[in-house]
């Protein structure tokens, strides 16, 4: 052991070995951090209901046009006015959408605010409606109040 104490050669080699090991540990820690960041961003992208909200909005707009066309068709053989028929059909749509989303633990409320006709033929045709759209899945809350929809194409 005496010779060990006296032998002071190769200190640079020992030091560089230590430095390289520390660098490797640092790099491993950095790589791990990058992976964690990737995990959180991917998880956030999966959890955020972007497509569900977009789908609810687009479908409500498409559906308002379908209901308007159907209302005009029913009006031909019915005593009820177009706005009354439209409101009944829209209530049915709202009810079904609410239930279909409730199955997935989401609260959705699509309610009709007003029906408008700018050309003065309110009882026979409509061209714009206002609706309130709300979506809530416990983490994300979205509301568009009111959403203006042109139903006459």
């Amino acid at each position: 052991m005496e010779s060990l104490k006296d032998d002071t050669k190769g200190q640079w080699i020992a030091l560089s070995g230590l430095v390289i090991s520390l660098i490797l540990i640092g790099l491993a820690a950095l790589a791990n951090q990058a992976m964690l960041a990737g995990y959180h961003s991917s998880n956030a992208a999966l959890e955020f209901p972007k497509e569900n909200i977009r789908e609810l909005n687009l479908h409500t707009k498409d559906n308002a046009r379908i209901i308007r066309d159907l209302s005009l068709s029913i009006n031909q053989t019915s005593n009820e006015t177009v706005p009354v028929i439209f409101e009944n059909l829209f209530d049915s749509y709202s009810d079904q959408v609410k239930k279909l989303h409730a199955v997935h633990g989401e609260t959705v409320n699509v309610s009709l605010v007003s029906i408008n006709s700018t050309n003065g033929t309110y009882n026979h045709d409509i061209d714009m409606i206002l609706v309130n759209i709300r979506y809530n899945d416990g983490n994300t809350y979205y509301a568009s109040e009111p959403e203006m929809i042109e139903v006459r194409e």
Partner: protein, 170 residues
């Protein structure tokens, strides 16, 4: 017997220990890496699946013969029994838009407050990392009559149907 270079031997041992420690740290990190990669793939798969339903929904009789509403309206109300699918009009564009991806499609709708979930396309049992995407379509008696489907709707009735697709990579 030569007792020189003992410090070098100790240095070698400690270097080996530190390198082993580092390799272990990296190996342990890769265990965390695996699900991260899977999650990133899930995000892509979800986007791809959702887009494919949206594309079919927007189709206007070009390469895709029927749009999503027409496909659903034309359903004859009988469930699929593997390996036979019961909605070929939808299966054909989906298989074209989702190469290398397997999927099952269910239809969910309410009938007098009762939820009905019917399987219309079955391609197998979903794997662990399957994603589910949803798309809504609205049916009227007119669209059903034009598509020749089996939905029994009144003239003044609308039916909101949820197209639920479970997709996974093989």
């Amino acid at each position: 017997m030569n007792d020189r270079a003992q410090l070098h031997t100790l240095e070698g041992l400690s270097a080996a220990f530190i390198i082993t420690l580092t390799v272990l740290t990296i190996t342990q990190s890769t265990i965390i890496v695996t699900p991260q990669n899977e999650l990133a793939m899930d995000v892509q798969l979800e986007q791809l699946s959702s887009d494919s339903l949206a594309v079919i929904d927007m189709a206007e009789h070009g390469p895709i013969r029927n749009n999503l509403t027409e496909c659903i309206a034309g359903w004859d109300m009988t469930e699929a029994a593997y390996p036979d699918n019961n909605l070929e009009e939808l299966d054909a564009p989906l298989s074209y838009l989702l190469p290398g991806i397997l999927y099952n499609v269910d239809l969910a709708y309410f009938n007098n407050d009762d939820l009905n979930v019917k399987k219309v396309i079955i391609h197998g049992s979903p794997s662990e990392n399957a994603v589910v995407v949803r798309h809504l379509v609205t049916l009227t008696n007119e669209t059903v009559s034009l598509a020749g489907g089996g939905w029994n709707l009144a003239d003044d009735e609308i039916k909101v149907v949820e197209v639920r697709m479970t997709a996974w990579k093989v």
